[in-house]
Symmetry: D2
Subunit: 406 residues, 4 copies
């Protein structure tokens, strides 16, 4: 079929948007699909047709029914000095955003922190999780299933790890509730964010081992105690992916000069807003705006942007350190990777390279740990700056001046 | 200064990344900045240098320290038949994602729903909120402040609305806690997502009216009872932005043919996963993966991707309807707009036009309501399809086949 | 039947424990039942047979299958000076508890607060709630039901209020989720805790008005959005029963003399424990031990002790007031009454009389408001004292000395 | 001093209520104190003066400033057949309550379950917890403290266990957040509820080991990640005390005959109320009324009634089992003991003896496990019965008939 025939069939509903792939090269399929959509909707997608990634790879790994690309403006904040276990030195932070003032604000935070000697940071590797749900006849069979799993952990581990080159199964947390048993598998997925690794490994364990030997049926490979892409106290309390800690101590004069405020005012803003305010609101985010930095950095570096949900949880503490300022961020659920997902796309890869974390680390897992530390330091910078803007009453001004809303 | 001189000054730290803007056109500034970063990091940003949006506008409204753009692959799902108050007919849904299988999965859901006659949907306009925190001397002054606000609501409303052409202040919810008073302002922001409108209006009310007349000090324009970009039961219970409802009834044979499963199995998967599993996990997301569809649609249409946090909250219900299937989604916190933010960027605008919702509605607010309905219907399609994949045990297969993880 | 015959029948399972009531006076029934249980279990219930309440009334209103009474030791804390809208002056607080050190600790708090001039306190009457759940065909019918309710509010109000002498229906908050509609009725129940009033009123509205006219079926008179006796962010955010505020300012020397610590240390303990610690734990109780005081006061005064759940939620703030100390408590969900429930039992009545709040207020509702204020002030005293014990490292000592654990 | 002199001094404020203990026997002190309060308040406390517990012991272990006792009516539900690991056979359940209809309702549930062959039940011994909070200089010192604790666990264990005859330290979970480190100690406290044991053991570990060797300061022996007597997702997710599971399968005809409803209706009520309703309300109680049974059983058996808070959390599932009914309860946070606390008081002891669980078990810990199982089975009975009343629309009727409110 030629292009015209395909479009005709699409219009008559004799061909679905996906089916084009069978007849055309990925690039041509994208073009034809776009033309069809343009025709159907009467809208030109000219700008969308412009993209710099490799279409063959992208259509295999990242996108179906592709018609082009969305361009998200990319800015750079920094330099930001980071003192982590893996990230050491000066970094320029790529931030993809459409939200005016964000990059400027993070930049200001970077400036203050870098002037103060940098951000101290480390991450705990809590592991990627997947929790299938099984249906048992009742609590007694549930208990037996859990005992079986505990007894057969090393066999389960072998089967799970047979599906992956690098991944390791670390443990399995069980919960029984009536006829439901949830097994939360925890994996060290090294430099990958690891959701796929976890899915594939769990699938094999469930189908080839647990269901076969225990005769208990798995109802869903994900039983929502994972918990993936939904805010949850489970992940908040136990951590998921990386649990990241970052902090800085800033001399009083840096606060005054760069943030135009005082340590005392920053302490008060954070206390009444991030602590009392969030507590009153029943929030899992005891912070000012983690999600902004997380979203911009995740999109820039090819992370799954739905993981902004987990990245929005956590706490900012601000305290006096003598006459100076202490600030920290705590992020219990940072799901990131430097291989797989969108990390290989052209622009995303460039952003990861800017940070020196593209691909697998020399020791597997090191690059992901380094990226997690960069996330923590960046979020710290963003928190500091916005708390400053709130303390000086400049939030509205920033919104107006940097074009948002006006 | 010429380019070379600027880069030299940047390297010596005599110029910040932002300062370039004073010396060069936006386009040239972006180029110089990019070259500087390339030099500092030793990484080519060639692909990042390619973008199709108008750099003058973008650097005024959307981005600072711009160096280029991130390209996120864009796919299309559909057609999806929607029966809303505002969205009526057949839609092609633009989804910007790097997560393989997502567009394919949503497409499958669209096919099933469209075959079943479409998604019924409506949205409640709950309003955009901003909640400044004030420091009072104690609960007695707190009570007086609240009484003052109640008594002076119409004056407050006038001042607030003087800052905006379209926005309306609907109400103010107060909370007192010790020395803290939180006033949660609720605005109808029409076609704008409205955060800026709310910030600017609140700022004026706070500075020119409340602080002046009551002598009570505002500590922060946002006191986190708003709650912006953080998961919270406040927004979950009271709603924020739009509260969206979508549903479909699907005949048994559609479930069998398109999703390869049965209504009974879908009911069981959703019950044990989205209901019991989420409840066991302390989650605010009683759903399968709202955040995936929300993120892809938000990025494609220029929404603030940090609002994926709010969009991830809510519930999917699946029930038998005789021998057939009933499915619904409930989304209490959908923050979207069709004007402002990233909506005017070239590719984002094209996506909005595809949906017929670019810019302000004929009646202000109608386009945003229509987009909210489209969000609801798209999320419904995504939920249906993934629940189906879980029911048939095909989640891992989809992950492998569509290139994620392998 | 005589006693012996009844016990024989009970033993043969020919009579249930409840059925005795038909054959004997309440007192005799209790005696026979107790003897039967003694025989069955081989345990003497001699102490249990001792009670001072009126058995005829109690078996009608408070208890079925009565066998006697549990004696909970009653202590008194105070005097506590309270400055509320309703509670004014010096109070002795009755506390029924088996937990050594509690009364002593609250007493110490009372002493400090009274020395400092007393506790400032007020309560907001948020209303008792009941939320039936209705099953609709889908979101469209759900929307219509909600509209019908809004339109017919005054009729609903009339029917509701026809079932009660004092109660008033204030408003109805609706939520739609798929096939479910929840209507949260809010009542002013005056001096009664009000759960029964709310149940009876809702029942009549549901059966005689809503179901009849809309043909929509009520699935359960309580759909758990009430939310009764379960911790919930719904009640935490919106309040239920009374929302109580209490505070005190204590001079530095009072803190030093009575609590043996400093304002600075108290601020730090509360910040790291009640704020950061509770936030880290995903708690709805940003306090030290509200539940202890609430339980002791509720049991002493005949409140429903299951409402300790709601009373455990809320926040304690501790701040410096110059060189002195500011402390407040915020309790969003205090469900209490001075009529009905266990308030009329002999010992409980005496406790209410001690506080001057037995029975209906001169203006209906005043006594319940006064009792709510007393709850707030008492909780404030208990919080202050335990924070002090933590600050001085004396928690363990108190436990040991006052006999708990040894 | 004689009685008269003491009362005079009390009136003049020259003596506090506690100080009487130094001058009089416990019994006389209680009498004098009561007389003083009677005089001050003008209220007779005659009924309160009647109590059957041993005043010498009670004033040492359970109460200070004692004036008498509160009498809570005690009823009995049952027989309830329980099939647990520890509780086996037929039980009569003592319930101390002032809430009319509760005992009757639980009795009905017992009858249905016993007719169906009994409740299957088991408990997981999750352990009592206490979590001191330490202040460190920052995250690096925090990390070192955690490492020190891990390395020195066996020394810590030795010190902790030196304070108790039976208790065992099982593990320590650490969290770091900025300058705060929380160490959640988990103890097996055998037959004791264990809060005191945990406090005393932690105190010694903190003071004599951690502070001494690491030079890190403990800010509060309880840092609220314990979490004691406050609803929390921490305990909900990880469990505290006992995690209890109970279930029953009831034939259709039992449901019809005893509960006057059908399995289908019970499933629907529980789904729309306990699952969807609680989820909509942001509740940690996906159940009908756990707290009612927990409160009544806790008060009857001398448990700490503030632990009703933890006992109110958890889930009830109701499902069809063919044509019959499956019902289960899941209680993650049951804090109970059979030694210590109020268990030794006269009436409370009798209640424990009725259940065959007074004092330490033959194997330490067995009695507490048995009591936990009884709690689970009783709660199951109460849930079943109230869901039945909701299904038949009889909730209001029960309230009216059994005297509550009317």
């Amino acid at each position: 079929m030629n292009e015209k025939e395909i479009i005709e069939k699409l219009e008559k509903g004799k061909l679905g948007l996906r089916s084009i792939d069978k007849h055309l090269s990925p690039k041509d399929a994208a073009d034809v699909r776009r033309k069809f959509v343009e025709k159907k909707t009467g809208v030109s997608l000219e700008n969308t047709s412009n993209y710099s990634f490799d279409v063959d790879t992208a259509t295999k790994k990242n996108i179906e029914n592709m018609v082009g690309a969305t361009h998200v403006p990319l800015g750079v904040a920094g330099p930001l000095v980071i003192d982590g276990d893996f990230a050491k030195g000066e970094f320029y932070i790529p931030l993809a955003t459409t939200e005016g003032a964000l990059v400027a604000s993070v930049s200001r935070g970077c400036r203050a922190i870098t002037n103060a000697g940098g951000a101290k940071v480390f991450a705990e590797n809590k592991g990627m999780t997947r929790a299938p749900v099984f249906k048992v006849s009742g609590i007694e069979e549930g208990r037996k299933l859990v005992q079986w799993v505990e007894k057969n952990f090393s066999r389960i581990k072998n089967v799970a790890e047979s599906t992956t080159r690098f991944g390791e199964l670390k443990k399995i947390h069980p919960w029984i509730c009536g006829k439901n048993v949830y097994l939360r598998f925890v994996f060290d997925t090294k430099d990958a964010m690891g959701m796929n690794m976890a899915v594939v490994a769990c699938d094999k364990v469930v189908v080839e081992l647990i269901e076969k030997e225990t005769k208990v049926k798995c109802i869903a490979l994900s039983g929502n105690m994972c918990v993936d892409k939904k805010p949850s106290f489970m992940n908040y309390v136990k951590g998921r992916g990386k649990r990241v800690h970052a902090e800085a101590v800033l001399k009083r004069n840096i606060i005054e000069k760069i943030l135009k405020t005082t340590p005392e005012d920053l302490v008060e803003v954070n206390y009444r807003k991030s602590m009392v305010g969030s507590a009153m609101a029943g929030s899992l985010g005891f912070n000012a705006h983690f999600a902004n930095m997380v979203a911009a950095l995740y999109i820039a570096t090819g992370q799954d942007p739905a993981h902004v949900v987990g990245g929005s949880m956590g706490m900012t503490t601000v305290e006096l350190e003598g006459k100076d300022l202490y600030i920290s961020v705590y992020m219990p659920n940072v799901n990131i990777g430097t291989v797989g997902g969108g990390t290989g796309l052209a622009t995303q890869k460039e952003a990861l390279e800017m940070l020196g974390v593209y691909g697998a680390g020399n020791t597997p897992g090191d690059n992901a740990m380094k990226l997690a530390e960069i996330v923590g330091a960046t979020v710290l910078a963003g928190e500091l700056s916005v708390l400053g803007a709130l303390a000086t009453g400049d939030l509205a001004k920033a919104h107006v001046m940097l074009g948002r809303g006006k």
